[in-house]
Each structure stands twice: as C-alpha cells, then as structure tokens.
C-alpha cells in the first residue's frame, strides 16, 4: 500500500522523526522519546503535525439545519468564531466519527474529522445531504488535500502564538492577539500574506491551539514556530506522545474508544448529544440509552500492582470472569503507572471497583478511576 504523506514530511525527516504507518499515513511517532515529548507538552510546549486529519467545509443558508440534523451536538449554539466537539452517528447510534465543528461565518462551517475516517465521513455526509429537503441550500466541500494543520499544545503556548501571529484577527472571533481567544474560539490571522485559522483547542488536555492553513503554507508555519519556540522550550512531538497525552485525560480516539458498534452514550460522551435540540440521526437510540442505560460502559483504570503496561485488546476480568477488553492502554509518563480505558458491562463500571487486566496469561490488579485519569494543572 502506498502511504500518504503530509506537506511536513521532509520537515519530519529533517527533525529526526521516526516515521511509522498510521491509518494509511506515514507519520512521525516520535523525534526524541515519547516520554520526553509528553512531559514537554505537560510542562512547556510541543508542536504536532495533524495535517493527516480531514477538513470539510459546509456552506449555505441551510448549512446549520443540515448539520444539526446530522451531528449530535446543538450547532445552533455556535456564534461565528466558535467551535464544539460533536459526533456523527448511524440511526442505530453507532459512531461514524467524532469531530470538531467550527462556525467560520454566518453560513459557513468547518468540520475537522479523523484521518482514517475521511472517506466514510464524506460518503455519509453526501448521502445524508441527498436525503435532506433543503439540499439545494447546502454545499459540501472536502478540502482535506488542500489543507494542513499543526497542534501547538502546552502551558507556554499562548505567548508563542502571540509571536507567531502578531497582529489582530481578520475574521472569526475578533481578538487583538491569539492568546485572547477563549477555549473553542477560532479566528483568522494573516501569515506570509495568506490567511490561517487558529483555534484554541487540542487533544492533550493542556492549554493549546490548532493552526489550520493552506497545505502550501504549513511548512513555513512549522519552521517559524520552531524558530520562535526556543524560549518556550517548544519541541516537535509525534503521534506517540499525542496518544499518551490524550489517554491520560481520557479523550476518545476513533478506532479505540469509538467505532460504528459503539454509541456516544456507551463511550461516556453523552454530554455532546443534545437530545433537546430535536430530530437528528441516531436520536431515537441515544435517547433510549440516556434514559435506560447501555449494554457496555467505558471505564478508565489504573494498575495497582507492579505490572507491564496495559495495551489494547488485553482482557478485563472482574469477579473471576472475563467481562471486557482494554481499548487504550499505556504507561502514563505523568504518573509513571500503567493506565488505560476499556469497555465492561455497566454493573462493573463503578469508580473504585477492582478489576484485573490479563497480560500474557497472568492477571494484574487494577482499579477503576474517575476520568480524567490525570488532571493537568490549571
């Protein structure tokens, strides 16, 4: 299979990135070590290539109504310059993708979708649009190949972003500098004579930003960020640290916590399912689950014995029986302890509950803990 490469591929090679296959893409897993990059983001600042992620623009007088009928969160809550986490579900409630939706203009939305889900998402959106009564008032454009992005994450990033984009915003939320953006706000800034989008969001649990640019501009943003980033201890960070960071704060990753046979309620992200907004795809099943419960529940756990790190697909035991499976697991660099998430029947999903994780034929004790497993300093 030919692996896809982002516009930052040669930048990763120059930075000494170790490249691996991820969802059909050749991406850096690490530059120094996962632990080093992870702690750098928790303490200072890290920059990640997220250009493999997909971008879809939805425009038109009925764009809001279409998205509200297709996504789980209430998109009417978005003022121009604001974004929200949301999900796209089947009628049976299974998750097609989890995504961020930003309102860029009165009738213009930007969807940031998972790299591995671009094709199924676009096919699903097109199919739903074809069945949407006001379809003539909505256009859907997949700009994934024309668009690139970096995530700049960590407590020191606001000062760095102000140097990277040192003028007031030209669109979206009006701010005089990026650090004035509040969580989930998005704004446009000028960079090298072109327009970039900066959103205050991320996938690390830390303060941070995502910068979305034309594909041809991203290398200049990356290089400039690294150049200005020295006083902020900015380091390039790979997918390895991205995964350990999000696991510590229990953010779901599609293909692990989420898939087409798992609902947002089971995955513990029911907060982003706005039943009160009216009809949307999957609502009937999700309403039943919110009221009556689910067959499985996502739990977070910490190893309590000295144990090898838990990994995806390891079995979960409780009361002497196999009750579920780990979906994400690692050695937490912040806690220096094995941590993970997994699905179990609801009767076992109790905070403080004792479980065991089977690792190479032996069972090691673990405790179900409240999410997030690790809480970053405010």
């Amino acid at each position: 299979m030919n692996l896809k490469r982002t516009p930052l591929f040669s930048a990763h090679q120059r930075a000494g990135g170790k490249l691996i296959e991820f969802g059909g893409w050749e991406m850096p897993v690490q530059y120094s070590t996962i632990t080093d990059e992870h702690l750098c983001v928790r303490r200072a600042a890290g920059i990640f290539d997220i250009s493999h992620m997909g971008e879809v623009i939805v425009r038109g007088p009925s764009a809001e109504a279409f998205l509200n009928a297709t996504l789980t969160n209430d998109i009417r809550k978005l003022a121009v310059g604001l974004g929200q986490y949301t999900l796209m579900c089947h009628e049976h409630g299974g998750v097609i993708d989890d995504l961020y939706a930003y309102r860029l203009g009165a009738q213009e939305y930007l969807l940031i979708i998972n790299a591995s889900r671009i094709e199924p998402d676009v096919a699903w959106l097109e199919q739903r649009l074809a069945a949407f009564p006001q379809r003539a008032d909505v256009t859907l454009t997949n700009v994934s190949d024309l668009t690139a992005a970096v995530a700049i994450q960590g407590p020191k990033t606001p000062g760095l972003l102000d140097q990277l984009f040192p003028a007031e915003s030209t669109g979206g939320t009006h701010v005089t500098k990026p650090s004035e953006l509040k969580k989930n706000q998005i704004a446009q800034f000028a960079f090298a004579g072109q327009v970039v989008c900066v959103a205050r969001t991320g996938y690390s649990g830390e303060d941070g930003f995502e910068v979305i640019t034309p594909a041809t501009l991203i290398e200049a943003v990356w290089d400039q960020a690294l150049k200005l980033g020295h006083p902020f201890c900015l380091q390039p960070c790979g997918l390895g640290a991205r995964d350990t960071l999000r696991t510590e704060v229990c953010y779901p990753l599609y293909g692990h916590e989420l898939d087409e046979n798992t609902t947002p309620i089971e995955a513990g992200v029911g907060y982003f399912v706005a039943l009160e907004k009216g009809e949307f795809t999957g609502r009937t099943v999700l309403a039943l689950e919110k009221a009556g419960g689910t067959k499985k529940r996502l739990i977070a756990f910490k190893m309590t014995d000295k144990a090898p790190p838990p990994r995806p697909h390891y079995l979960i035991w409780a009361d002497g029986a196999q009750v579920g499976e780990v979906v994400s697991g690692t050695q937490s660099p912040s806690l220096n302890n094995g941590i993970g998430m997994g699905y179990v029947p609801p009767q076992f999903a109790t905070i403080g509950g004792r479980i065991e994780i089977e690792i190479r034929g032996r069972r090691f004790a673990a405790e179900i803990v409240k999410k997030p497993i690790y809480k970053p300093a405010a």
Binding site: I34, T35, D36, G240, P308, P309, P333
Partner: protein, 128 residues
C-alpha cells in the same frame, strides 16, 4: 547516532548481546536496540531454573509504545536474573551493557555462542 558495540561481546541478529564467563553467559539487549525502543518501562524476566533453547522467547521488554520479546542467544538454564533491572527498567536505556543486563544462562552448548555475530558483523547489520 553514536551506537556502542563493545568488542568483548557476541551478538544475536535479534539485538541481544552475550557475555561469556566460563560456562555462564549474561544476556542483555544492545545499545542500538534500546535506542530503537526508547523509554523502557517494564522488563519481564524468566524464572530461575527455566531451561531455554536458542532462539526461544524468554523475556519481554516494554517501552511506552510496544512490548518486544527477548530471545535466548544460546540454549541453557537460567541461573540468575537481574532484579535491579526489573525494579528500574530505565537501566536498559542508561546502561545496556552493564546494569541493564537481563539474565544469566548456564550455557548448554558452547558451539552456539561461536555461531553468534562478532562485533563487526553486528555493526554491519545495524549499519554502524
């Protein structure tokens, strides 16, 4: 990358080293291997008394990212394991040829050690 390949050791293609002293040999993983793994966070050692065959998976080393098997470079009986590396797995990264050793074998067949790679052959394998 300045990878260490000590001249007094024998090497397996699967990146273990063997230090022979009489009929007992210590086993660990190479500097190159620990560089590739990075961040060793767990080491699982064989039981003392276990008899292993050459090429048999008999220990596990885990980094943040993955678990990797360690193979016996020669056949023999496990006579000692390194408790220090089990308590402090980072020794595999910091001292791969000293404090980071895994276990010692009573060598069953000295000819197997002779069939392992020389330092130069191992350097050639890793492109050093």
């Amino acid at each position: 990358m300045n990878t260490q390949v000590p001249a007094d050791l024998k090497y397996a293609k699967s990146h273990e080293w063997l230090r022979v002293a009489g009929d007992v040999a210590a086993v660990g993983i190479t500097d190159h291997a620990q560089h590739e793994l990075t961040d060793v966070v767990f080491v699982e050692l064989p039981a003392v008394g276990r008899k292993v065959k050459v090429g048999e998976a008999c220990a596990v080393v885990e980094s943040v990212k993955t678990a990797s098997d360690i193979y016996a470079p020669v056949s023999g009986e496990v006579v000692e394991v390194n408790k220090a590396v089990s308590d402090n797995p980072a020794l595999v990264n910091t001292e791969p040829y000293a404090g980071g050793w895994f276990f010692k074998l009573k060598v069953a067949n000295a000819a197997e050690a002779g069939a392992l790679l020389s330092p130069d052959a191992y350097k050639a394998q890793i492109g050093g």
